[in-house]
């Protein structure tokens, strides 16, 4: 199952209340956790020893929205200030498959960083960090 942006709903839940993003440019996810292999310098076997890297680093979800209403700005500003936990989601509305960053915090102050005459200037990058990323496929 592949998520297509034109089939997806985006938003976040805070204290049990659902907030949706009306216009979403894209959502990107950075996951630093990797499985690695190592073996001794004597090359004792061809299996090696598995270990994980990046487990101390959070996953980063960047959701680039276009425009930001006053209500949304108010909620996100408070969430950033108070480090309130929220769940960010992308849900495929055709079958309910979802990608969620649960118990995440807003990493940066939500704000418009560029003001000019391009469409891109309406972008606001919301960056969330979480250790609880889930992806559920319903088909």
């Amino acid at each position: 199952m592949i998520f297509k942006i034109y089939n997806s709903d985006f938003g976040f839940k805070l204290a049990g209340v659902d907030y949706t993003f009306t216009h979403v440019q894209n959502m990107t996810i950075e996951d630093p956790e990797t499985n690695k292999l190592v073996r001794g310098g004597n090359a004792g076997d061809k299996l090696g020893l598995p270990y994980k890297e990046g487990t101390k680093e959070p996953k980063r979800v960047t959701c680039t929205i276009m425009g930001m209403s006053k209500e949304l700005k108010g909620v996100l500003d408070e969430a950033f200030k108070n480090q309130t936990r929220l769940d960010v989601y992308c849900i495929d509305r055709t079958d309910g498959s979802s990608k969620m960053a649960k118990n995440s915090v807003l990493s940066t102050q939500p704000q418009q960083l560029t003001i000019d005459d391009t469409a891109e200037s309406m972008n606001v990058a919301l960056i969330f960090e979480s250790f609880d990323l889930s992806e559920v496929h319903k088909s």
Partner: protein, 426 residues
Amino acid sequence: MKILLDYFFPISSIDPTPQASTAFLKQVCVVVKPKAGQEGNVGQIFVCTNMTQVAARTDNTESQQLFNAGMAKVYLLLADDLDLEVPMDSNQGLFYTVLVSSDFVDDDIVSEVDTPAVAASLVKADLTFTAKTAGVAGNSIQVEFLDNVSAGEETAHASGNLITVKIESGVSTATQIKAAIDDSISVQALISVAIAAGQGAVAQTAFAADNLENGADAILGAGPGLLVGTFKGVVGIASDDTGVCADQAAIANRCAFFKKTANGSKNLFYAFGKLLSNAANWSNQQYITMPFGDDVDELGEANSLFDDKVSFVISDDEFGQRLALLACGGKAITAPYIKRNLEIDLQSAALTYISGNQPAYTKTQAALIEDELQKVMDTYINVRKWIEAGVVEVLLIQDNFVGNAEMDIAEPKAFWRIVGEMRQTL
């Protein structure tokens, strides 16, 4: 009237429903017999916060153990028997545990106690006549020996309950008479006959119609047994009969506690008091100190009770009286409470989300509700550590209004014993 504000700026607010209370899961109802003067209150439930209030209703003092264990209040149900369907059905949601006091004995708890029926019988000289069907009806069967045939030509016939055997009095032997009776289908339907050992050749004499006697019907238990109607919670009973305990312990949501008669249900009450008085957690009460010993001081007996999943107290010279098992329907004592707690929290979370967000019937909203429910599960797994695993899935199978949720959880379990093997290899 102040109407300008509402005229200028009417606001309709959407309030999500509050979280449902699970406090009733920590409450207990004790079933006792009424004291003199309280007979009119049978079937009623009273809230008691101290033993003075309990003493006003019943002479049973076992509730003291619940208060000793830390309970702040108990519900007291006055009853003459253990047919509790009506009071249980009309008091749902007040408590989740019912404990039966020692005012009630095994015969009250067990559905049926059979004293088998006894067959009526009649002994005449060397012959014993026994009714084929046990019961008082056999007492109306009559047997007569008529002296009106020659020996060797004996016959037997039943007309209604009257059995007539024709013999030659003083000549016909017991064996000859038995043969005639055995040949008669009508008589065989009513009785069987036996000859006293070694007396087959002895001549028998005629006698007038005489009734079989001492037939008795089966006797069932005095009451209907323990009935709780639609009550879905935990029921605790105590008995000094290991067989009764074993049978009761196998019933779902039933805790059977082995007791010494002199202690009544005190240990049962104390154990549940400790379980329910912990406001923050559900814990299995492994090896807590108990107030009374129930004379389980031999390993064989303890193992036997454990194998039957009967709850009991073990007596040890060093460690004193310790709760050696507290179980319910063959499962951990906390299992029914945790499951019910989880059910309520899941229901509450879904209701709060729907009432607060007024969602449309979409797959997106189904996924969001599913996430809310999974959060509840995850709290039980990762924070409270009450269950090992749990998964929720919300599906939209119907057209409108109603979603379907499927939930799988791991059964809560309890660690009571370790069986080890030591090998001398070093």
